[in-house]
């Protein structure tokens, strides 16, 4: 069986982290209606490569160390995939603001909560919390 089927998909991990970060932010700031943050792909790569050292669930994002910066093709593809599927969007004109679309909540509640077990969801919640601290909320 292809190995890819045994582990959680990188897209799903990223979608879960972003949705949980959104929920934590909305808990802290109930007046907000959406979750958007400033980030470009390089920052995401940096944040996730650091988080990976502490959280095994992020091993799905394999980082190459051959160049000046850590780089995970899987993370870059996951961002593309979530954008293509409409779970996240980016704002014009500089595209540095990433925001979650309403469909991300449905995906998390209907699909991801059944895919990840309790301990994985706990890990993802911690990751989301650290992630939220690292990014600048828009």
């Amino acid at each position: 069986m292809p190995a890819s089927q045994n582990a959680a998909l990188p897209d799903h991990i990223l979608a879960a982290v972003l949705t949980l970060a959104k929920r934590e932010m909305l808990n802290k700031q109930p007046k907000e209606t959406r979750f958007a943050f400033h980030s470009d792909d390089s920052q995401l790569q940096e944040i996730f490569s650091e988080l990976q050292k502490d959280y095994r669930i992020l091993d799905a994002f394999v980082f190459s160390d051959s160049g000046p910066e850590p780089y995970s093709p899987a993370l870059e593809e996951s961002v593309s995939s979530l954008q293509l599927s409409g779970l996240i969007g980016r704002e014009n004109p500089e595209y540095e603001v990433v925001f979650l679309q309403p469909s991300a909540d449905g995906f998390f509640d209907d699909v991801l909560t059944t895919e990840f077990d309790k301990s994985q969801l706990e890990q993802l919640t911690k990751i989301a919390s650290v992630f939220l601290d690292r990014v600048k909320v828009a």
Partner: protein, 504 residues
């Protein structure tokens, strides 16, 4: 109790393949350099030691693999091979290197390369695609679905694509290294280190000062992309312009975080390359009929992999392969595979090869896109995209669609006749560097030009998924697919809208 020997490792299996390639090869030492007349790039000069490599079976095998796989079923001129692309990439690697050296000379800055670097660069570009198998990228998609790729997750090449890893393993195989040492290094009296060459293929270099060489072979704007964008558009008859001289006039090296990297002086050439690439994806690689023949190839290969005893593919020397391992795809080339009129004794394979021979292709039954899905904002799109990396789920859905057909239609078709094609997104990174004026520091090109968003925007409007089947069962497959996909993803597909493009 006897201990059974461990199964051969990926490295050993690749070496066995290289041994097989060299089995009946009698090297004839080249007499000197050679000029190749390339339709796209003109006269390409190769040194004596490069001719030795070009003449060896590792490179000659690429003559029998089409650069664009099965695209020629739609664009009849696209019969160019991986071989000519490899020659082109080698030539373009030198043009890039020369452009950087020339700029450094004019600007009186230090150029971090030397003649030995150029030799290694050209050799890496020449060998970068030797890991391609049957129908190029079309079969890559298939072995990703049918094989366990865990062995490709080695620390050394964990972030590389499987095709690059296979090229690396062929070049580092003991058999190739031995031949290379004897006939190239000693035979042609040239100092070449295959370790440096193979690292460049993976986009690596042991010295930070020479990292730019790795980027010329494998990076956001490498010689591979520059050649294939220009070559594929030329042979497909698309009037796309890739202004290579302009591109090279704007490239230089730049220090970035202790590494000497490549940097462009303007994003204008990037726009041109992106436009070319997106046009190729929209018009060629993701053309609905190209996806259709790719899906049909998956039917044949999948059938062989599932029935290895009755349908195994015969190769030279009495061997057979059943396409369960990515290395097995190296044994088969396009010419050899499609010339098997007898279908290796298997009825389904025979019928499918007859379909390919007579261009009796499956047809589109259903289009899944923003124009045919009425609840496009639903997260079901993500579940559909997941199928690009969940091959068993994809197969399960295809089987469900077939099982849902009315009995009369089910009897007229095979389970492997229903194909759901879900394209991924064209890859192109915005991580390349730009330096806007002399003295400025290097920055990521996406600060000036939103590379990935540009692709996203284009892809969002162009992205389409299709269900294919033989014409005689197409309406029934369409109806079954609408129900099965609604249940799986929640996406509501309007049959009438879909019919407008599928002509059912």
């Amino acid at each position: 109790m006897a201990v059974s020997p461990a199964p051969p490792s990926l490295e050993e299996r690749v070496d066995t393949f290289v041994q097989w390639l060299f089995e009946d090869f009698k090297p004839v030492p080249p007499t000197g350099p050679k000029v190749f007349n390339d339709a796209l790039l003109g006269h390409l000069l190769f040194a004596k030691h490069e001719v030795a490599v070009i003449d060896c079976p590792v490179l000659q095998r690429l003559r029998r693999i089409k650069q664009t796989g099965l695209v020629y079923y739609v664009f009849p001129s696209a019969t160019h091979s991986r071989f000519e692309h490899s020659l082109g990439a080698a030539a373009l690697s030198e043009r890039c290197y020369d452009a950087i050296r020339e700029r450094a000379k004019v600007e009186e800055t230090t150029f971090p390369g030397d003649d030995a670097d150029l030799l290694h660069l050209r050799m890496a570009a020449l060998l970068h695609d030797v890991g391609h198998g049957l129908c190029s990228h079309a079969s890559e998609q298939i072995y990703k679905q049918l094989s366990n790729l865990q062995e490709f997750k080695n620390d050394k090449y964990k972030a590389n694509q499987e095709g690059e890893v296979l090229s690396y393993l062929i070049v580092t195989s003991p058999t190739f290294q031995k031949w290379f040492e004897e006939y190239v290094v000693r035979g042609c009296q040239v100092k070449l280190d295959l370790k440096v060459v193979s690292d460049l293929i993976l986009g690596r270099h042991g010295e930070k000062d020479k990292y730019f060489l790795a980027k010329i072979v494998s990076g956001p704007f490498d010689c591979d992309k520059l050649d294939y964008i220009a070559r594929d558009s030329y042979y497909c008859g698309l009037a796309l312009t890739v202004d290579l001289p302009r591109f090279y006039s704007m490239i230089s090296t730049e220090r970035y975080k202790d590494y000497t990297d490549l940097a462009l002086r303007s994003y204008v050439p990037v726009e041109q390359i992106l436009f070319g690439k997106m046009n190729l994806f929209g018009s060629v690689y993701h053309h609905q009929k190209v996806k259709c023949v790719g899906s049909m190839l998956r039917s044949v290969i999948g059938h062989i992999a599932q029935n290895p005893e009755q349908a195994k593919f015969p190769v030279r020397g009495g061997r057979h392969v059943s396409f369960t391992d990515p290395v097995e795809y190296l044994y088969a080339t396009d010419d050899e595979f499609f010339s098997q009129a007898g279908g290796f004794g298997d009825e389904y394979t025979k019928n499918m090869l007859s379909r390919f021979r007579n261009r009796n292709l499956f047809v589109r039954c259903l289009e899944i896109s923003r124009r045919t899905v009425t609840n496009w904002q639903h997260y079901g799109r993500q579940k559909l995209i997941d199928l690009t990396v969940l091959p068993e789920k994809l197969l399960d859905l295809e089987n469900k669609i077939h099982a849902s057909l009315p009995p009369a239609d089910r009897a007229k078709s095979n389970r492997d006749d229903v194909r759901l094609s879900v394209p991924g997104i064209p890859p192109l990174s915005g991580e390349a560097l730009i330096r806007t004026y002399r003295g400025a520091s290097a920055e990521k090109i996406k600060k000036y030009f939103p590379v990935s968003e540009w692709i996203q925007s284009y892809a969002h409007n162009k992205w389409r998924s299709y269900v294919y089947a033989p014409r005689e069962v197409a309406p029934a497959v369409r109806d079954a697919a609408i129900s099965v996909l609604l249940e799986y993803s929640g996406l509501k597909i309007d049959a009438n809208m879909s019919n407008q493009t599928c002509h059912l």
